[in-house]
């Protein structure tokens, strides 16, 4: 089977700091929805940023869609990979929602019509057409999150990376977001410690603990092992805690 994303023995450390990732390896197939679970500081965000070249590994290599991640292949890879950050305010930097979504496509050397089509399409996929001319600071948390997703979808990526997508959302927005993500057919890698969302969305989970892969297995198996979860600073999802005792 053709792998989509491969991490091969990745080591990474920030300058003048300890290693954040110490030998991480895994592969993702096309269309898989995988969760990266771990406590704060486990290295989840670092891992995501290595996927599109915002950070370069200190040793090991990364393959995205068959392309090796290097300084030269950065732009090609970034057109295939969409990263949605934790803080939506940092991704919505244009005066209006529409311009934000159009930002990515307009850097892809497309014609004006193509940019407009992609923008409308992305807004439609995410359900924010009514927010077209709004300014980002007037949006609610859930709307900002969905708009941030739209800004990335407009570039029609094959791999979606999401960093803690449900943080700070009220229950309704959270539910809307989960339903939205459920419908996506992209390959998805979600870094989170929202265990209930993982139960809902991701058949496979990679447990990250202090920069090392503690487990890489079907989600159910991982949720069964309560002591493992605890060692990694996590808990069983509440829905599981009620069901299985």
């Amino acid at each position: 089977m053709h792998h989509y994303l491969t991490f091969n023995d990745i080591h990474f450390n920030y300058p003048h700091a300890e290693e954040a990732l110490r030998g991480v390896s895994f592969t993702l197939q096309h269309g898989e929805h995988v969760a990266i679970a771990g406590a704060n500081g486990a290295g989840k965000s670092t891992l995501l940023m290595l996927c599109n070249g915002l950070l370069m590994p200190t040793s090991g290599w990364v393959d995205v869609g068959g392309v090796r991640l290097t300084e030269q292949s950065l732009q090609t890879i970034r057109q295939q990979v969409g990263l949605i950050f934790q803080d939506a305010d940092n991704q919505l930097f244009m005066p209006t929602v529409e311009e934000d979504i159009a930002f990515g496509p307009s850097l892809m050397h497309l014609t004006d019509e193509e940019v407009a089509t992609r923008t409308s399409q992305a807004m439609h996929e995410v359900g924010i057409e009514h927010l077209r001319g709004r300014e980002p600071h007037t949006l609610s948390g859930g709307e900002k999150r969905r708009t941030a997703i739209a800004t990335v979808l407009a570039m029609t990526p094959s791999l979606l990376l999401l960093d803690e997508p449900t943080t700070g959302l009220d229950p309704r927005s959270r539910r809307q977001l989960i339903e939205l993500l459920r419908g996506f057919r992209h390959t998805m890698l979600i870094a989170t410690h929202d265990m209930d969302m993982i139960a809902d969305l991701c058949p496979r989970t990679i447990l990250l603990n202090e920069g090392v892969v503690a487990a890489d297995a079907p989600t159910e198996k991982i949720f069964d092992d309560a002591s493992l979860l605890e060692r990694c600073g996590l808990e069983r999802p509440l829905s599981w805690q009620a069901m299985k005792f």
Partner: protein
């Protein structure tokens, strides 16, 4: 200090505007060119950093601190601070955009006066004081004391130069009948004190940034290259020369005991009603320019005229009030 539209004449505004526009054009060119020579990671961050730091400066200028020694409070301009992070040209561009935005939001800075304000505040601090009086004095491993000293010197020079420029612009405009010499001295002295305050404040903030994010400061400056030893020596010599020139010039002018010929004759003819302004040179030129743009023979205002205008305006106001647009609730 901000130059206001009330005190400026269009000709001075235009002149300063031309200077400001050219400097901005150069800054854009320099930033674009330098950005393309940076390594990819740095290049990506220059523009967004400029934008967010512009917002920071806007906010920081509204937080006052008590100036030690005096009882009053003040706020920083932030030119030296910005330049230490972004480099002179990027900082100049950022500060200029902040000035433009302030003029639009607060509407008290003056639109025509923007050219003056950009020159007085952004250009003097980022393009003159910073490269000559800060960058040359500070090396990557400079001690805290050194940075403080450099901050104070650079801030004082920046503000004093700005104050001098402001005085020149006010005098050249010929609107306010201030005696240029007295005004200049007054402004320079005030801004000397303010400059010390700004220098101390800048140094304090730089110390904090240096502690937590040393990578972002002048040693790894986003748009600067490290000056070579010879380069630096030349700059240090030139800085002393310039400092000496400025100090010398102002002292000789202020302390001059021989009034120039015109003033001497004015003193002799005390209380002459035809005297418009002590520094008649500037005022005469400005008045001449204004007269040449008037198409009707100059007759000044009369009482009837003022009352008549008042009546017209009142009438306009009433009509406008009656027909005003009322937004529906």
């Amino acid at each position: 200090m901000h130059m206001s539209d009330a005190l400026i004449s269009p000709s001075v505004a235009a002149g300063a505007g031309v200077v400001a526009v050219s400097l901005i054009a150069v800054a854009i060119e320099v930033c674009t060119r330098k950005a393309s020579t940076l390594n990819p990671t740095r290049r990506e961050y220059l523009f967004p950093l400029m934008g967010v730091l512009g917002a920071f400066v806007f906010a920081a200028q509204m937080i006052n601190f008590t100036i030690p020694g005096t009882g009053s409070s003040g706020h920083i301009v932030g030119g030296i601070l910005l330049a230490a992070i972004l480099g002179p040209w990027a900082a100049f561009l950022t500060l200029s955009s902040v000035l433009i935005i302030q003029a639009l939001i607060f509407a008290d800075g003056g639109i025509l006066a923007l050219g003056c304000n950009i020159v007085n505040m952004a250009a003097m601090s980022c393009l003159v004081a910073y490269p000559i009086f800060f960058r040359t004095l500070v090396c990557p491993n400079a001690s805290a004391a050194r940075i403080s000293a450099a901050s104070i010197i650079a801030s004082v020079i920046a503000l004093v130069l700005g104050a001098a420029a402001l005085s020149a612009e006010t005098a050249l405009s010929g609107v306010a009948a201030l005696p240029m010499r007295q005004f200049l001295v007054y402004m320079v002295v005030i801004h000397l004190v303010i400059g010390v305050g700004e220098g101390i404040a800048t140094a304090a903030v730089l110390a904090i940034v240096r502690h937590y994010r040393p990578d972002i400061l002048f040693e790894n400056n986003l748009s600067d290259t490290k000056p070579t030893v010879a380069h630096r020596a030349a700059r240090v010599i030139s800085l002393f020369a310039i400092a000496a020139l400025i100090i010398g010039a102002s002292f000789s002018w202020v302390a001059s005991s021989k009034p120039d010929g015109l003033e001497w004759s004015i003193e002799k003819v005390a209380e002459s009603p035809t005297l418009a302004n002590p520094d008649t040179n500037y005022h005469r030129i400005a008045a001449q320019m204004q007269e040449q743009t008037a198409l009707m023979p100059d007759y000044d205002t009369s009482l009837a005229g003022i009352l008549g205008s008042g009546a017209i305006i009142l009438g306009v106001f009433v009509i406008a009030y009656i027909f005003r647009y009322q937004p529906r609730r």
